[in-house]
Amino acid sequence: MSVHCPRGHLSTTHDWCDECGARIDTTPDAGGAQPASGTPRPATGPTPAGAAASPVTRAPLGWVVGPAVAEPPDEPDLSGGWANDNRTVGAERRRRARTAPRAASPASAGGAGGAGGAGGAGGAGGAASAGNPPGPEVCPLCETVREPGERFCEVDGYDFVARTVPPQWIRPDPPATTVPTSAPPPPPPSSVSTSASTSADVSAPGWLVEIVPDRTYFDRGDDGSSTFPTDTPPRVVALLGSRTLIGRRSRGRGIFPEIDLSLPPEDIGVSRAHALLEHPRGGPFTVTDLGSGNGTWLGDSLRRVERGVAVELTDGARLFVGSWTRLTLRAR
């Protein structure tokens, strides 16, 4: 009798597929897809409920914080499962966002962008999709469904294993390095919603993050505990969905970051769940430090990103984490 393997091949062997070699489980694996229950809870507790009043929250900037942004659609999770607590962080932040003052009119840029359309599809919400197995994996660049077992996207060569973008997708470095979100006083809502940078972000189809070891940053904090990696080419990760975790993979703790800095050269200065990038379609791009050990630093002046507070980033923004890692945000 033949059986079907997880990839759909008909196999005469019942333990491993006789076509592709995938394991064939006759008994359903109940707990496999879910992270371990003992995952840590980073950064949710210490966040004061009144954080919305902080000058670096996004609300004062005049973003349209409609329902679509507050409940972003949960796209299929490719990482094999979020740590539950990251969802908690996200949920709490969304709650805060809802209670934050709504500054702009519903007709402004955010509502007109992709957010409204995406909101209709996002009814499931975070908790529901967390328990479901991930759907077919798609290329974040061209949305082609990944061929089972293939490492690279057959259309554009995206590397599904290393989550690396092929070189032709990478734009040259934009001139702006970072735009501190709180530095300028909050301008009147109407002017912000129509500003050039805002509309550029809204229309941007997606985001890339370039990861490189930064010598200058490393030298500033060098305490001899780690060695600066040389000959490391930049790694570029395409951001998928609406949230991206920066951290170091930990199987035991059920943390599987999309931006995994445990890949060689591992930056051990990065916390397991270090920081969260949120980039809902049509919404702002923000970073939230999840209570990391060594902090998240913004811009070449290394301004600290306060724990549990979402800080908005724009195209070209640089984040520094761990011992040497520089993350540069690129719209594409």
Binding site: T13, W16, D18, G21, A22, R23, E150, A162, R249, S262
Partner: protein, 429 residues
């Protein structure tokens, strides 16, 4: 009845994007009842097949004098070892091949009278003529095919280099492959180890040097006894690998090194059979390297399924897994058994290349390679090859591979080392 069991040694962890999976598969054939759940007994509805033995004696001119006398004595000893009922024949090799027993073509059935007749025929053999090993093998093949169901084995004794062109020998080997197995023995110092090794490898036999003609008889007796003890013929290793994967190599690494990669016969698109000849109660170890498509981190799949098959029926199965991890500690570990046999193969290569350099005149490279061999042999506790090495080089420091070439090396010692270079030692438990 032979029962086959197999065991896999590997580190299944590969780094992200890693493709090459190495595994050592130990196959043990034992007589007796099958252990629970390990393997099915070798099913044999028909009675155990008879053995067919052909003795090929080099009778070229160079064999004159003492050598032909001892060769005759060895052949007679071999004939005496044959049990009643075993099929046998004797081939005299010159620049052509001549069947000297039985006279009428085909093979004789061993009995008191046929053994006596064969002894007489062997006693009349004279040295003279040239060396045409391909011709000898082709005649042997014809004799073997007259009894297609038997387990076919031959002994080839020679003292010189083949006078035929490479292509002629190659064509003969291609025809004989899979028909019979052949153990090769060289006597004297005029034969070429590499040439006999090639013949032995293709015909699933081994090669050795007979130092003194007087040792021939004992050696022949031992070979015949080993050959007759093999109860199951045409055993193949069947390797399945997933779509998109390649078998980089499959080589036997114990009791001696033999590369099987090129001998594969395709069963289907994903499965190949590698012939291993006849088996008795013995242990053989294989090193398999498969190149698979990389999987996702924390993904695991079957990289190869290795079965022993006789007449398409699997006797024992081993599974080689591949799992991808970003844990460097896991993925950089090398399995001890894989490391041991990799070292054993490196040792064989170092000896053969070192001796090659010695012949072709780069003493410095030869000393480096033989030094490496001495180091590897010491590490593995491989006393046999270490002793043979010591006759060719003086070992100053085995741990670092510091050796000096000896100036007055007996060419027989070099050939002995060369011939024994592929004899490995088992991995420590």
């Amino acid at each position: 009845m032979l029962v086959f069991t197999s065991e896999v040694n590997q580190n299944k962890h590969l780094p992200a994007g890693g493709t090459d999976m190495n595994a050592v598969i130990t196959v043990t054939a034992e007589t007796g009842a099958p252990a629970a759940g390990q393997a099915r007994p070798a099913a044999g509805p028909k009675a155990a097949p008879t053995a067919a033995e052909v003795i090929i004696l080099d009778c070229s001119g160079s064999m004159g004098g003492n050598k032909i006398v001892e060769a005759r004595r060895a052949a007679k000893a071999a004939i005496d070892t044959l049990r009643d009922g075993v099929l046998f024949g004797v081939v005299q090799g010159e620049h052509f091949a001549k069947q000297i027993y039985p006279a009428g073509g085909g093979l004789a059935v061993a009995s008191a009278s046929t053994r006596e007749a064969a002894r007489l025929a062997v006693g009349r053999m004279q040295a003279g003529g040239g060396t045409a090993i391909g011709e000898w093998l082709l005649l042997t093949r014809k004799l073997m095919l007259s009894s297609p169901d038997a387990i076919h084995h031959a002994i080839l004794l020679t003292d010189g280099q083949n006078g035929e062109g490479e292509a002629v020998l190659e064509a003969a080997l291609a025809q004989c492959e899979g028909v019979f197995q052949c153990d090769c023995r060289g006597v004297g110092a005029d034969w070429e180890v590499a040439q006999l090794r090639k013949i032995a490898n293709r015909l699933l036999g081994d090669v050795a040097l007979i130092r003194k003609p007087a040792e021939m008889a004992d050696d022949f007796r031992a070979i015949i006894e080993a050959a007759l003890s093999r109860g199951i013929d045409k055993v193949a290793i069947r390797v399945w690998a997933p779509r998109g994967a390649d078998v980089v190599f499959l080589r036997q690494v114990f009791p001696d090194v033999a590369d099987l990669t090129g001998t594969a016969a395709e069963v289907d698109a994903l499965t190949k059979d590698f012939p291993t000849g006849a088996w008795g109660a013995e242990k053989r170890v294989y090193h398999l390297c498969v190149r698979v498509l990389p999987g996702p981190i924390d993904g695991e799949k079957l990289a190869a399924r290795v079965r022993l098959v006789v007449d398409g029926e699997p006797l024992a199965e081993a599974k080689v897994l591949a799992a991808w991890t970003d844990d460097v500690e896991l993925s950089t570990q090398i399995d001890g058994t894989v490391a041991h046999y990799t070292g054993q193969v490196d040792l064989a290569d170092a000896i053969q290349q070192g001796l090659e350099e010695l012949k072709d005149g780069d003493p410095a490279t030869a000393a480096t390679l033989l030094g490496k061999a001495a180091r590897l042999a010491t590490q593995a506790g491989d006393d046999t090859r270490l002793r043979l090495l010591e006759k060719v080089v003086e070992i100053d420091d085995a741990a670092t591979g510091q050796v000096r070439l000896r100036t007055d090396v007996n060419p027989l010692d070099e050939m002995d080392l060369d011939a024994q270079s592929t004899k490995t030692v088992p991995a420590p438990r």
